[in-house]
Subunit: 352 residues, 2 copies
């Protein structure tokens, strides 16, 4: 049963190539754009959406915009199975809205390294993103900026001199930019400092979300911090203030780990040890328990408690234990119980 | 800091030398006796109790009743520390009542192998017991019977032709015997059959108790099954009916294990695997969680899931993780948290 995404699925998830000790798992920026004179996706007919797909694809092709040494990949969402679409979601190449019906007229373009991609006809006609491992706001910004510039040479974007870039939802108008950093904050959670920390971040007009974006919980002690506003502030300023807050948060998490180690060493070791024990010896694992356990094991590796565990194996598991990834690996759809069993099997193997 | 029980403490607990696959952990029979013409302990003065101690000790010495190749041990409870007394409780050589104040005039006599012992001035003047690993009702009965006979050659017991042996509490009068078998029934618990099983046992006039006797819960999935009545039934008949019920219960537990393996293999493996993971990797373990985890690991060893774990190591941990044993090993009293830490350390070491 081959499918269009098999080749992509076989790649390691590029944004998870973290070094040990990195509190930031990944940095991502996406820009929302629309073409001048063409309807927003929610107002477009199926024909118009297909037309927009072709226009944007042609521009990407002509400018070799996503071809980094090798041709980019293209996926028409309507031609993908439910599992394949969810694999794209779990790899953060597609949003929940993008993979939900109606699927006609939606296309995903992905660069060979999976680092840059464009969703065509999500909420906006163009949602382009760049995502990298670790804390690399500047690098990611430069990359997505270059793609934006190259695209704008081929296409005319809907732009207003007062408002900036026009978008389907007014909360994105202006820069159309959302810059986010995924932070791993287990020590702040364990020491009960996470709630005041989040409240402090919110006061700085930044949003805090769970691993899969808006409305998701903080499973795995993973927090996405991103800018809330796109209007009335330049991209550079938005990124500079996000950069400053993330830098502070990383220091807080590191300090919280030191404090736990000094003041409550056995509670820390116990949380890490049990998490490892569960991943290494269970035969049924829910997604939530696995993410929580991976989180503590990752902190343990960061803090040097596991000489024999490769941080890459742990980082990759964060994505590989997703329901769609498990089903894609199995080559068929799995019941809830079957997923829990195969999730446990994968963790036992990878953490041997 | 040496103490009178150091020598005893250094011995492996004799009744825990089980073979793998044995559902019955241990078999124990105790007989309650009192001396004719001397007051029961609760009515005796301190002087009288000391006098009784000496009389019984002299009889044991003269008859070499507890000297199996080597001299027996004697402990005056008033000379033992709180930790030492609790070590005796955890090794099932003393009851909770016996180690509680007043301690004056209470003495424990223990045979060199720890298998036979006599509490002097517990509820009755004499509480003699024999305890062995596994399901050995007949052997234990013969042994305690021989000790009883030998003692009765030296001493005159309080005996009534109608009632039989007289005891402090009427529920023990008659045979003065309580025969009990400690069963390990994790599969009956896991499959939800334990409650109807216990209700069935109670209807047969047998008592079901937890690991530390009356009023304790079934932590570790351990159940002590014993005769409830001592009046109007011969020792032989009591033992025969207990024997029949235990034989049935062992079959039920074995069948429940087979059923779990066939019908819900992954739930079974998951319980066993997690239990091992927790014992092997935690840094803080409560007594209750440890017993529960040891129980599942013991079942796993029984069922052949752990090639590398010695059943002896698991059986010994059931006693060695007791609070008094941990403190005795540490050579000092430990706070609750310190106990949990040293309990986890012991489990990590022993299950390596």
């Amino acid at each position: 049963m081959s499918s269009p995404i098999d080749d992509l699925f076989s790649l390691p998830v590029s944004f998870l190539d973290n070094a040990p000790g990195e509190i930031a798992l990944s940095t991502r920026i996406r820009l929302a754009r629309n073409l001048a004179g063409l309807p927003f996706p929610n107002a477009a007919s199926q024909e118009e959406k297909c037309d927009i797909c072709d226009k944007i694809t042609a521009a990407v092709n002509d400018g070799h915009i996503l071809d980094f040494g090798k041709k980019h990949r293209e996926f028409d969402l309507a031609q993908l199975s439910d599992i394949d679409r969810n694999v794209l979601l779990e790899r953060r190449l597609a949003s929940a809205e993008f993979i939900a019906p109606p699927l006609e007229g939606k296309r995903l373009l992905v660069c060979p390294l999976e680092r840059c991609s464009i969703m065509v006809n999500e909420e906006d006609q163009i949602r382009m993103q760049s995502i990298r491992p670790g804390f690399q706001l500047q690098e990611v910004y430069e990359e997505i900026n270059a793609i934006d510039d190259a695209l704008s040479e081929q296409l005319e974007f809907a732009f207003d001199n007062q408002l900036g870039f026009l978008t389907s939802c007014p909360t994105n108008a202006g820069t159309g930019m959302r810059a986010s950093v995924m932070l791993h904050l287990p020590a702040l959670v364990l020491s009960g400092q996470i709630l005041p920390t989040i409240q402090g971040i919110n006061k700085l007009h930044l949003a805090v979300r769970g691993i899969f974006g808006e409305g998701t919980d903080n499973r795995g002690n993973l927090f996405q911090i991103s800018n809330q506003y796109t209007l009335g502030e330049s991209e550079a300023k938005t990124i500079a203030s996000l950069d400053a807050v993330i830098t502070q948060l990383i220091l807080h998490e590191k300090q919280a780990r030191k404090n736990l180690l000094q003041r409550d060493r056995f509670t820390l070791l116990d949380n890490i040890g049990r998490a490892y024990g569960i991943l290494r010896h269970s035969y049924k694992l829910s997604s939530a328990e696995t993410l929580q356990s991976l989180s503590f094991v990752r902190m343990g590796v960061d803090m040097g408690f596991f000489a024999s565990i490769d941080i890459k194996a742990v980082n990759e598991l964060f994505i590989a234990i997703g329901s769609a990834h498990l089903q894609k690996s199995a080559g068929r759809s799995l019941s809830d119980t079957e997923r829990d069993i195969s999730r446990a099997e994968l963790c036992r193997q990878k953490l041997k």
